[in-house]
Symmetry: C2
Subunit: 368 residues, 2 copies
């Protein structure tokens, strides 16, 4: 019996799903974009009792889509979509939402497509809510962010918990503090599960490239680990946080230290992997230098009160919160005018299909 | 310029207060009960721009109250109330709320009065929202908790962020995970700022009673430190968390280890303080025993997946998250079906008038 948190029966005797339905008689209709690992995990959650009030009216992968009721009810939907379905066409998906009598209409973006993210603002402006794991709008060009804010002023909601820390309650906390007039002094942390793992492990006893290969084998890094090592993903998350803290920063206003040397950037994945040992000497030197001062290396993201944003390798003391992380944990430390003696710290698994899908579901349910 | 989080100007160009007013044209009217340190800090927040859409229509301390507009506008309100005002009378306070044309009517309880907490359910049933730092209902007798749940089924909101961790986003996270069908495996942490401080410091080099006196002088403990040492306050918070996780536990279902020996319980405060050195030998023995195993002592609260709840002194290894706390930090670690490799951890200052008042304000603003 570990399903303790499951609200199958809440205190007042009603089902959670029913309670949602009571608030919004026609329930919530949604369309899911993306059936990769996150989208797949989200589909599984839709088949649980807590999603009883949600009605899936359309699903799409990058090439095909499905809006037929009987097809959507099929548990093999994800597999089915690889072989059959209509050609991708947003209009038909939106029509499926419109055709529902739902009071709340949601588009869930579980892709990483910049092209799709560019449409979020338009959907919001037309009254659809958007719930997203896709960081390309919030963490992309400043013009896109501004368009998003204009669209939001019209009343639809943008559920973006899944874009930072896979739903760790960071964005919600930042917004709540801000709404209460608290003042940010610093925001600091480890925003990447793979970089967390690598530097939590790296103690100089084995070459960095050996550790990297191990992490890649275990699926902790992207297939091409340069996506992680470049710091670009961390920079994107820092941009989202900074913008939510009130700094309208452009993508060029985050200082990014890439761990990939110039000589390894232009290669294809195989060639990079074959030469990954070129990472070792520079990192070993930095590790040794830190060790002489009793310190350790961490890949940190930092924002200060003047809006200066940087992501990169930093030497920290063993008592620094980031020095005390395990596994692939993310960590977010907020020092504010009111949280000033010690920061407010949120940490835990910040990646993975299950928690990311849960963050999407949480944002959808909050619309009910 | 550290007021970065302050939403004086949000992206769409409107003031946050105005945005709230736009959603609820007649704004939010509120009555404040309690003008002690938390209530006083809350009154200060009401004088900031983020509270622009909030209308204070009544304030009360334990003996006097004030509902006259000109008196409420006085910045010396808290002091003024000690000398003048009407006699305490709930009816008149509720009438002041009713007389406002506000769409949202809120009673903010910043007291620790069990008598007032006993009225929360009635207020909710009558349609007033209640926002509270007072733990006496949520963490009191089970019958009170059940009455609260029945009252909430009628639609009013109970803002209780301030009752656990002074507003650290713990209850909201627990509820969100539960709404998504996540399953609690364990909930563990340090829920008391004073006990956190005492055991973060205690290394056997000085008598525990000397440390206690120091903590008392610095205002980290209650004037009578037995309120902290008894574990009763921690037990109350654990009850609130357990009930929100789905366990309808009674007050007698939390196992509480008091650090106050039987012989020191019946005394008045002065007599207790004079004999506080009787705490020293038993704690020194436990500390020494833990040290032989390389461990440290922490006063932990724990709930497991079968609903077993305990608060008390525990020996933990130096790598345990609670062994790595500083100052008066609280810590809440949630291990769930989906957060299972590593727990989701929230930590930071879990006491203090400013952050507690901010938690109250956050809950009030969320009603807009």
């Amino acid at each position: 019996m570990n399903a303790v948190l499951t609200p199958e029966k809440v205190r007042d005797g009603s089902k959670a799903g029913v309670a949602i339905a009571a608030r919004a008689p026609a329930g919530i209709a949604l369309v899911l974009l993306g059936t990769g690992v996150v989208g797949g995990a989200f589909l599984k959650l839709l088949n649980t009792p807590v999603a009883a009030a949600l009605r899936l009216v359309g699903v799409a992968n990058s090439r095909r889509q499905q809006t037929a009721v009987e097809a959507l009810a099929d548990r093999g939907l994800r597999e089915q979509l690889k072989r059959q379905g209509d050609a991708r066409d947003d209009v038909k998906l939106l029509n499926a939402l419109d055709a529902s009598d739902a009071a709340v209409k949601v588009i869930v973006d579980a892709t990483a497509s910049a092209e799709l993210a560019a449409r979020h603002a338009e959907w919001l402006a037309r009254g659809y809510h958007v719930v997203t794991a896709n960081k390309s709008l919030g963490g992309g060009e400043l013009s896109g962010w501004r368009t998003l804010q204009e669209a939001l002023a019209k009343g639809a909601h943008y559920g973006d918990a899944a874009t930072v820390g896979a739903g760790l309650p960071v964005l919600s906390t930042l917004r709540r503090l801000r709404a209460c007039g608290d003042g940010l002094l610093t925001l600091e942390g480890v925003f990447s599960g793979s970089l967390s793992y690598l530097f939590n492990q790296y103690d100089g006893s084995r070459p960095f490239s050996a550790l990297l290969e191990e992490a890649r084998q275990q699926g902790y890094t992207e297939p091409d680990p340069r996506s992680d090592l470049s710091g670009e993903d961390v920079a994107r998350k820092l941009l989202i946080l900074a913008r939510n803290a009130g700094f309208a920063l452009g993508t060029d206003e985050v200082e990014v230290e890439s761990l990939v040397p110039e000589s390894l950037r232009g290669l294809d994945t195989q060639a990079f992997l074959a030469r990954a040992d070129e990472l070792d000497a520079p990192l070993a030197a930095r590790h040794a230098e830190a060790a002489t001062r009793g310190n350790v290396l961490r890949y940190l993201a930092r924002l200060n009160q003047r809006g200066h944003a940087r992501v990169g390798l930093v030497e920290v003391s063993p008592t620094h919160p980031a020095a005390r992380l395990y596994g692939t944990d993310n960590q977010f430390a907020l020092t504010t005018t009111r949280y000033h003696t010690q920061p407010l710290v949120i940490q835990g698994p910040g990646a993975g299909p299950e928690v990311t899908a849960q963050a999407l579901l949480g944002d959808v349910l909050a619309l009910g």
